[in-house]
Symmetry: C2
């Protein structure tokens, strides 16, 4: 038998496209400069493993954008070019909309946080009203910091819902139904700046490997446990978006064959048994008083049996769903975010137990489970990170 | 299912590393040359988007390895360097061990199949005996083709079991228990060539985007339904290996809370209800006669109700497990491989139904489900592909 050769090239149609490679390489140079201070091009090449030709190409581009400044120096008796990050004055904005808050950070291209504020939003807030409120807060932060509007590169916005990357539209499944159908364009109209949108859990994952304690980890599942349960993925060291951008929908793993109908349209999803809302409802039932996540934290730390049981059942269910995914993507690290992470091992142990239940022993035994290193700042920092990365990549 | 140590490293040791980038870039140049024939360096740069410096660096390397030849020409009145792929005479070998067969392909660096043979193995074969048999077959194929041993770059070997990439060792969970503990080294001792090992489903996935009809697809789950149920992943256009290389273990998704103990050590795994062995056993029960996969194919195409029911139940269970994964990795394409693909929609429809049951409507509605384009050749072609890719990457 003979065979049809692979004649048409493996269509690396666009995979690992030039833009993506350049972006990776630029990021590496910026990281090296952040860690090591001003460096010669030869040092950059040695320190990053990039070729001198690549280094000098990228340095030239970044110098043209004003991200770095170069100056001739003498190194070991030879002429060399010293490269240093410049303070361009450019501002990357990260905005995180939660169910009850909006948080804004301003940051430099060098990943320095310049300003950071959070305000509460009414439960069930009007979405465009909240966006206008955030826009007002941003304007005030810019004025107070003495940043003119031209210095704003873009506004990264994290939204608690799935987003179709083809159109920048929020899809059904968002925590607040009002978010559904909102587009990037509408946000740009309100903010008056270019806007980049992403799902909150994706941004949390990105923040962990850009700002957080987990830089250098290659394969991470970041699971945000809140009113919704969503995951963001870092695979091969990069944020992973899949076909449409609708990744990490862990909360919609069916776990109860004849369970209740979920807001996604399916039945018995993980979110219908393990979200914080479900936990609050279970604990409030029959007490006549509303239970808050702050109550769960306080009572959980006091070892209240009802709270521990509810958290244990939810954590185990979430862990089982994570275990199924870990069998397939074999991450080194599972990070847990959301309002309950203050419970520590009372939350993590059931999750670990659930992972052990569903994952192959070797997977369960080699996957670390920890809480997010950035707490409630993760999503807003991730939102600023997509702006910084976009700027460094030159939107190629 | 699983994984690999590609020991001739596809430098993905620490991806995004210089080796990995170089590898991607080299691959792109080779693809362009395969599609467009001899080209000048300027054409290569324009056609691939790579910088001229990168192109000339890589061309120099490839010329040193003899993969391309260069010759000065005049193009638009200027001096230029023409680059063309050379027939190096190098041979990449792909070997696929199944439960009852071994298949070998010989291929050129240009993805041309030179020779291809398959022989049957006894059920429950002695593993090292089968490896020796394969080695004898390979030696005969080389002699018949007039290839001296020095022309063999390496032997890629596909194994139906999870492989720990850190050590190149087959782990518990392999279809034949005898494979467990076998190392790349042992295979090298028998073959007398450098060996790269990988899991069969991973190789099937790779083959689809190198040799198959799905070049250019970026995010694929390739599911092999056989005695085991394993998946190989292409994510962002590249084979995905995760932390240890133990990816795609879809067959070990628990689906029956109090089900039977699985060979992986867990309980009620998908494989215990939906593998071909379970289907054969169900259909043979009480008949006193052994049922084969060929019987399932024949009777299924004749619309035998018992066969259709068994295939439908298994397909639905597999589809549900795929649906959970699709919610998280949002692939554009699910490819089904294994001995039952001849059933066509009688197998695919239950899988689609299972995906619809578990996946978000937008995910289920945008994920195509098709049969493998390469049939039983996929794994051996994938095994040759890892050798070709390793050689083009220059073992960096």
């Amino acid at each position: 038998m003979t065979a049809t050769p692979g004649l048409i090239p493996r269509g690396a149609r666009n995979p690992g496209s030039q833009g993506a490679l350049r972006h990776l390489n630029q990021e590496r140079l910026v990281e090296f400069l952040l860690a090591n201070g001003p460096s010669t091009q030869a040092e950059l090449a040695r320190g990053t493993g990039l070729s001198t030709a690549t280094v000098s190409n990228i340095v030239r581009d970044m110098a043209a954008k004003g991200v770095v400044a170069t100056s001739p120096v003498t190194s070991s008796g030879r002429r060399a070019l010293l490269v240093q990050l410049t303070d361009t004055g450019d501002v990357a904005v990260g905005v995180d909309f939660g169910r009850r808050h909006v948080r804004i950070v301003l940051a430099t291209l060098g990943y320095d946080v310049i300003a950071e504020e959070q305000v509460a939003l009414e439960p069930g807030y009007d979405v465009l009203g909240a966006v206008r409120e955030a826009s007002g807060l941003l304007d005030r932060m810019l004025v107070e910091g003495g940043h003119d509007r031209e210095s704003v590169l873009a506004v990264g916005v994290g939204i608690p819902g799935p987003i179709d990357r083809r159109t920048g539209t929020v899809l059904q499944g968002a925590i607040l139904p009002e978010w559904v159908g909102i587009t990037r364009r509408e946000l740009e109209d309100v903010f008056g700046f270019p806007v980049m949108v992403d799902n909150d859990a994706n941004l949390g994952a990105l923040a962990e490997v850009t700002w957080g304690a987990n830089r250098g980890e290659r394969n991470i599942i970041f699971v945000k446990i809140g009113t919704g349960i969503g995951a963001g993925l870092i695979l091969n060291g990069q944020p992973y978006y899949g076909f449409l951008g609708i990744t990490g929908e862990l909360g919609h793993t069916p776990v109860a064959e004849h369970g209740v109908i979920c807001r996604c349209g399916n039945r018995g999803c993980l979110e219908t048994v393990a979200s914080t809302s479900v936990m609050l409802e279970s604990l409030g039932r029959g007490t006549g008083a509303a239970v808050t996540t702050a109550d769960i934290l306080r009572r959980g730390l006091d070892k209240d049996p009802a709270v521990l049981r509810v958290v244990s059942d939810a954590g185990t269910a979430i862990g089982r769903a994570i275990g199924n995914i870990a069998n397939v993507i074999n991450p080194e690290l599972v990070l847990i975010g959301g309002p309950l992470v203050g419970l520590g091992d009372a939350l993590l142990d059931p999750i670990r137990h659930g992972i052990q239940h569903n994952a192959l022993p070797i997977i369960a035994g080699t996957t670390s489970v920890r809480v997010s290193s950035l707490g409630d700042r993760a999503e807003s920092l991730g939102a600023a990170a997509i702006v910084i990365q976009g700027a460094l990549a030159g939107n190629e």
